[in-house]
Symmetry: C2
Subunit: 124 residues, 2 copies
């Protein structure tokens, strides 16, 4: 199975709250890391638990883009929760069985345009 | 030329300050967007100018990962400037000639681990 399709199934299952299908995309020894908070979750069961118990609010996600190559993929989703919509960016590694074994997850926030380049850009 | 290789050449040229090689990876009508600041730059010349004139400090980048599929790619670099090292994440579209025609650029910052999931994760 292509990395692109596995990541597509991962996000579709999350949005559908189909946690059995979600778990099937994951290796037993999946490791999740979020470099911004330096949080880590090890193992399929623990990672499903974060997703089912870690968010005390309704949320939805929309896939913006998936790029896959070999056993690697990257995705860009738009996540909507109580504070609005935010991009979420993930890099994935798959194992020999086509299951996700590593997830690196990024959540960029808005910031002020630096003065040093303000004269060189436009806004949209 | 593969999208993966074009993006590899793009980052290598930036790190080498080889702005002619950098420009050769870009379409005439390249559009750069940074959703966090909602800044936009249109056209190869304007985009090279941001990169050569927009940063009043020394910087270096190291490629962490590139994933390419068809005319699309994603990259994760680590950028080091005066404030330290930060991940930079880009999504690329290429045109029929294998030149980069669209760049969407994200710069995630550290943030506090939300209390709602602190009991479900470890730190690294």
């Amino acid at each position: 199975m292509r990395a692109h399709d596995v990541v597509d199934a991962y996000w579709a299952a999350a949005e559908a709250r189909d946690w059995e299908a979600f778990a099937r995309t994951l290796a037993d020894d999946v490791v999740y890391r979020a470099p911004q908070t330096r949080e880590q979750v090890r193992g399929r069961q623990a990672y499903v638990r974060v997703n089912t118990e870690g968010f005390a609010y309704d949320w939805h996600l929309r896939g913006e883009r998936i790029v896959g190559e070999g056993r690697r993929a990257a995705s860009w989703i738009e996540f909507t929760g109580p504070e609005g919509t935010q991009p979420g960016l993930c890099f994935f590694d798959l194992d020999d069985d086509g299951r996700i074994v590593r997830i690196t997850d990024f959540w960029p926030d808005p910031y002020e345009l630096p003065a040093g380049r303000a004269h060189l850009v436009e806004r949209y």
